[in-house]
């Protein structure tokens, strides 16, 4: 499937995430100590109770026979009450504290992922399935936030609890300590490392299979019309069931592994207390320990369950965390090289696209056939072509979202690869075909372009795209929330909102991908008019569909993109004058 899993591989994959955790090591330590305190309280409660009852029974027996005996009932009684309370309180505080930690870690993890996404090469982001991929990443982050509570703290708590127990037993019955320590050491290794090893392949693959099943389901649902027409649904369902079977088989394997792990944990705990007992009985008979102590020690060993029981289930699923980390790490590998030139002249910028072509990884065809165009400062060009001809790819390349594979792109004479991301994003303004609006207030959405803009500026921006009246009619005005993905808006409104946002920025080059798609003719005309002042004094690239009415007009430079591999001359110039009016 993938490369075999070595310890080095695990360390490199989980390393960055562990480092991130370690930034909060103080909190992690406190949380872990609270867990330990809870477990130790349980141990103390049972051990002291056992001691007390045995001591009472012996004293009572002496008293009943008319002898004299003294038993301090207050110290053990107090200890029992103390442990009862400390177990409850430490457990409560521990849960609260650790949930706080987890939520802090989640913020850290999300911050890190987001930062990595901001810096990555945009190849994946431009792919057709980008949104599915991004959803998966967020799910992976949620998997990793369990790292501390499931995989980091419990084994350490179990280890410390074991050491405490060995010390306690060793204090009274030294000869038992060695064997107990050995048994606990072996059990601990098995329940953590052994379980992780046994469950690794299946739990790692399970995540993958789930993903496969989900995408196969989507394909099936999208193609349902054809499947029904050709009566192929039955065959397709067999394929889906085949994938589901693989999923269930892996789960079954994991159940067996986890089941054995749980049984082994319980058995190990049982064997430990039996072993302690076997050592304690002769010690008692030899007079080395009293009867209450002999009873106390195995009871203390029973409290191991507080530490060992959670281990097998968590470690059997170790592979899932590893797989999540592996996928997230891929983003870091896609980190784009950042240029460092950060000063471009103000005003309109010259653009030169020289023999640029692009092919997405794994694609059979080129997304963009070789294209060249030059644009003097302040000029406008219209690039037209059918869907899939590579218009959006061209936009992603010009705006520096993706690295240029072939040919080069110069902005004001500089290769865009040499420009810093900040410089590039302020020099090139884009309206993408798919408009992203955020579930936030209108003002927040606009401030993305210019966080310093005054409210008055925001209104001007809305005025330019003919949305001011609409916004003014809203009860909450600029504070109106737009809903998930701008759902509260119609397609045309969303497009205009994105144009208003663009209006607030001050780029020297503007790339507009089908700027008026989804607008009726009147609105399109008003928006065109509203934007004219802003567009004047900037270089503009229009990307338009070949059937779009706003395709090159007489007097405007135009480029047509070709599409299919070797089917036609990929590039045809409209030999019109290079005037820039529109």
């Amino acid at each position: 499937m993938r490369e075999s899993v070595t310890l080095v591989h695990i360390r490199t994959q989980l390393g960055p995430w562990l480092d991130l955790h370690m930034q909060r090591r103080g909190r992690l330590l406190v949380g872990m100590l609270l867990m330990l305190l809870t477990a130790l309280s349980a141990l103390g409660l049972l051990a002291v109770s056992g001691w007390f009852i045995t001591a009472s029974a012996l004293t009572g027996a002496v008293l009943a026979m008319g002898g004299t005996a003294m038993l301090d009932v207050y110290t053990p009684g107090g200890a029992i009450r103390l442990f009862a309370v400390s177990r409850t309180v430490s457990r409560y505080i521990e849960r609260l504290y650790n949930h706080d930690t987890i939520l802090r870690l989640l913020a850290d993890l999300r911050g890190r992922l987001f930062d990595a996404l901001v810096r990555m090469d945009g190849e994946r982001l431009s792919g057709r399935r980008a949104s599915d991929w991004l959803n998966r990443l967020t799910a992976d982050i949620d998997t990793l936030d369990a790292l501390y509570l499931r995989l980091l703290a419990p084994p350490l708590v179990a280890l410390l609890l074991s050491i405490a127990l060995v010390a306690l037993v060793g204090f009274w019955v030294p000869e038992a300590a060695l064997w107990l320590g050995l048994a606990l050491g072996v059990s601990w290794c098995w329940l953590t490392l052994g379980q992780a090893r046994l469950g690794l392949t299946a739990s790692r693959r399970r995540v993958q299979t789930l993903e496969e099943l989900r995408s196969a389901t989507m394909e099936t649902l999208r193609g349902l019309a054809e499947l029904e027409a050709y009566e192929a649904l039955v065959r397709r369902r067999e394929q889906l069931e085949g994938i589901e079977q693989r999923l269930l088989r892996d789960q079954w394997r994991l159940s067996i592994v986890a089941g054995i792990g749980n049984a082994l944990a319980a058995t190990a705990i049982g064997l430990c207390w039996v072993m302690v007992l076997v050592f304690a009985i002769p010690a008692f008979q030899a007079g080395a320990v009293s009867a209450p102590v002999m009873v106390m020690l195995p009871l203390a060993a029973m409290a191991l369950s507080e530490g060992l029981t959670p281990l097998p289930a968590a470690f059997t699923q170790f592979g899932a965390s590893l797989a999540a980390a592996e996928r997230l790490n891929q983003i870091d590998e896609c980190r784009s090289d950042e240029g460092h030139i950060s000063d471009l002249p103000n005003g309109p910028l010259a653009l030169s696209v020289e023999a640029v072509a692009h092919r997405y990884p794994g694609a059979m065809f080129q997304a963009l056939e070789e294209v060249s165009l030059t644009l003097e400062p302040g000029q406008r060009v219209a690039v037209s072509g059918p869907s899939g001809a590579g218009k959006s790819t061209l936009l992603a390349l010009i705006s520096g979202q993706m690295a240029v594979q072939q040919g080069r792109i110069l902005l004001a004479g500089h290769d865009i690869a040499s420009l810093s991301p900040q410089c590039l994003s302020s020099a090139v303004g884009c309206l993408t075909q798919q408009v992203d609006l955020f579930d936030a207030r209108i003002a927040d959405n606009l401030w993305i372009a210019d966080p310093e803009a005054s409210e008055q500026r925001l209104w001007q921006a809305l005025e330019a795209v003919d949305l001011a009246d609409w916004a003014a009619s809203l009860e909450e005005g600029l504070a109106t929330r737009l809903g998930e993905g701008g759902r509260q808006l119609s397609g045309g409104q969303a497009r205009r909102m994105a144009l208003a946002r663009l209006w607030l920025s001050d780029p020297g080059l503007v790339v507009l991908d089908e700027p008026f798609a989804g607008l009726d003719a009147d609105t399109a005309e008003r928006v065109r008019h509203g934007l004219e002042d802003w567009l004047a004094g900037r270089s503009v690239v229009y990307l338009v569909h070949e059937h779009d009415p706003s395709r090159p007009k007489p007097g405007m430079q135009g480029v047509t993109l070709g599409l299919e591999l070797g089917l036609q001359d990929p590039l045809a110039w409209h030999d019109e004058a290079e005037s820039v009016t529109m």
Binding site: L45, F52, S56, V73, G77, A84, R91, Y92, R95, L96, L106, A107, R110, D115, L117, G122, R128, L134, N135, S215, T217, M218, T220, G223, L224, A225, E226, L227, E228, A229, Y230, A232, R236, L248, W252, I256, N262, A263, A266, L271, L277, F284, Q285, V295, G362, F365, G385, P386, P421, S425, D436, L437, F438, D439, I448, A449, L563, E564, L565, Q568
Partner: protein, 564 residues
């Protein structure tokens, strides 16, 4: 009372709960087996503790050495082994039941989706349907395999322990029962707390995730505006804000489990002190006078076990909440009634000449009113019918009715006995797999030779021959490796491979480049020349010209029908 609360927790309330408990009950043989194994494992634990108490009694009071208690030790070890096997059996039985449950539910949902048909499914987001079918059904696992089983163990094992304790010392038993003021009450308490926690947490976490997903989805825009670093800060701040707010709820919500923990700790403490003083002879009444070291120890050892199942159950409340949330969504989906008229067409009498006929057919969409008809249409064999009209005039609806993807509201759809049809729209079916897999899906009997020929006719021959792996080339998830035009030509190749006499084409050339358009139109001509019947909904002049009959529609009605 116990039964009443059990009932409320599993089957009362919403239809989703009833559905979930019904589906779970169907697998009850496996799950009950798990309960049985769990119960027996619990008994084995109790047995161990009885043996331990007895062993200590022998050692201390009768001065027996290790040799004297050897049989006791062996008994304990034996029970350890038995318990281990039983717990494995419990896990596996529960998993088997849960797997069968999930398989059953997946089949049910997929049957339902297939019954709803391609047209009705367009109102759903495909990704969220897939998420429901895969992840939401997975979420039922914890409920069936853990919560359901543990729910029953909670009622079994503590009862046995209580009886055992009462047999030794009824006052201690009452103490236990008092400190746990009836298990059901506890359960309700924990349940309410956990539910409140889950409801609030679910909402908070969902809102936080939604915020994050929203920002991630718009990452391209944020990058374009150079707003990435600012947004990163915002994402972290939002998570931190939610943390502070949700901690306020958690502070209360965790109290319920703290109460459980407190009572179980206090019960052990009280029982220990009671027994201690009883053994000392300080309690001169009731059964305390008869306490022995054996009975005292046994009661003490059993006290934590008495509460253990309940503590375990409280860990599984989260599973239950997720399963209920998932069932809510699934039930809502299943509540959508499929169109029953979709699959019961009438037979044509004269099917030597006719393939399909619509008589007074209408179609209504909720919210949009009448979108089609009443319309009469006869499709003779070998006909090429071009349907045109402005968008929204009902072209696609007519095609969907012809295909049987939607059932007619009124009127009748009559079909020939041998009606099989091919379908093509703008979004061809593409599966993750090789080109051959994609062709074989609709033409399972075709060999490589026929596949190549079909690809050749669809204008993909040169491209595929140039590929090093040919037909075995993988086209990637969602057809990532193909352009839109190539995908359409693949769909055309599928039509060539099929022997379907009727070919339904829904705007097959929309938003394609001119070259692909030309290839497709040429392909359709060939199909017509083969004698196949074509029905084409289109705006494209060249396609319209292909028809030997033209049907122009407006507002769901036929405007003109002209023969050429």
């Amino acid at each position: 009372m116990e039964a009443a609360i059990t009932d409320r927790a599993t089957s009362g309330g919403s239809p989703a709960r009833r559905w979930l408990s019904r589906r779970t009950a169907e697998q009850s043989h496996w799950l009950n087996l798990a309960v049985l194994c769990g119960g027996l494992a619990g008994l084995a634990t109790v047995g161990q503790l009885v043996l331990l108490a007895g062993l200590i009694d022998v050692v201390i009071r009768k001065d027996g050495g290790v040799a004297a208690v050897w049989p006791w030790l062996m008994g304990i070890l034996l029970l350890l082994g038995v318990r281990a096997l039983l717990s494995i059996a419990q896990e596996l039985a529960a998993q088997r039941g849960s797997q069968r449950l999930r398989q059953r539910v997946r089949r049910e949902v997929l049957d339902h989706l297939a019954a709803l048909g391609p047209v009705r499914l367009t109102q759903y987001h495909t990704a969220s349907l897939a998420h429901q079918w895969v992840e939401q059904v997975e979420a039922l696992d914890g409920y069936a395999a853990r919560f359901w089983v543990q729910m029953r163990l909670v009622a079994l094992v503590p009862l046995v322990i209580l009886v055992l304790v009462a047999w030794q010392d009824w006052l201690a038993a009452i103490l236990l029962a008092l400190t746990a003021p009836l298990i059901p009450l506890f359960m309700a308490l924990v349940g309410m707390g956990a539910e409140a926690l889950n409801r609030e947490q679910f909402v908070a976490v969902a809102r936080l995730s939604a915020h994050f997903v929203d920002r991630v989805r718009g990452i391209t825009t944020l990058r374009l505006f150079g707003a990435g670093p600012r947004a990163t800060v915002e994402v972290v701040a939002a998570a931190d804000d939610y943390r502070r707010r949700s901690l306020r709820t958690l502070r209360l919500a965790f109290l319920s489990s703290a109460v459980l923990e407190f009572f179980s700790s206090v019960a052990i403490a009280v029982v220990a002190i009671y027994i201690g003083f009883g053994l000392l002879g300080d309690i001169p009444f009731g059964p305390a006078q008869d306490l022995t070291l054996f009975s005292g120890l046994l009661i003490l050892l059993l006290a934590p076990e008495f509460f253990q199942p309940l503590r375990t159950l409280s860990l599984f409340y989260h599973d239950r909440a997720s399963a209920l949330a998932a069932s809510d969504g699934l039930c809502e989906l299943l509540a959508e009634t499929p169109d029953e008229r979709r699959h019961v067409p009438d037979r044509l009498v004269d099917d030597a000449h006719l393939l399909l006929s619509l008589q007074g057919v209408t179609l209504d969409h909720s919210g949009r009113g009448r979108v089609l008809g009443p319309i009469d249409l006869v499709i003779p064999r070998g006909d090429v019918l071009a349907i045109s009209g402005p968008s929204g005039s009902g072209k696609s609806s007519l095609l969907q009715v012809l295909a049987g993807f939607v059932g007619a509201g009124e009127g009748r759809r009559l079909v020939a006995h041998d009606l099989a049809f091919a379908w093509m729209d703008q979004r061809p079916l593409l599966i993750h797999g090789s080109l051959a897999d994609n062709l074989a899906l609709t033409a399972p009997d075709a060999d490589d030779c026929r596949m190549m020929a079909a690809l050749e006719r669809a204008g993909l021959g040169a491209l595929v021959r140039a590929l090093p792996e040919g037909l075995e080339t993988s086209i990637g998830e969602g057809g990532r490796g193909l352009s839109g035009g190539q995908a359409q030509r693949l769909a055309l190749a599928r039509i060539f491979l099929s022997n379907a006499p009727l070919v339904l084409l829904d705007e097959p050339t929309a938003s394609l480049d001119a070259v692909t358009e030309g290839i497709l139109i040429e392909g359709f001509r060939e199909l017509a020349a083969e004698g196949r019947t074509l029905v084409i909904a289109t705006h494209h002049p060249a396609l319209m010209a292909m028809g030997n009959r033209q049907l122009i529609m407006d507002a769901g009605r036929e405007v003109t029908c002209a023969n050429q």
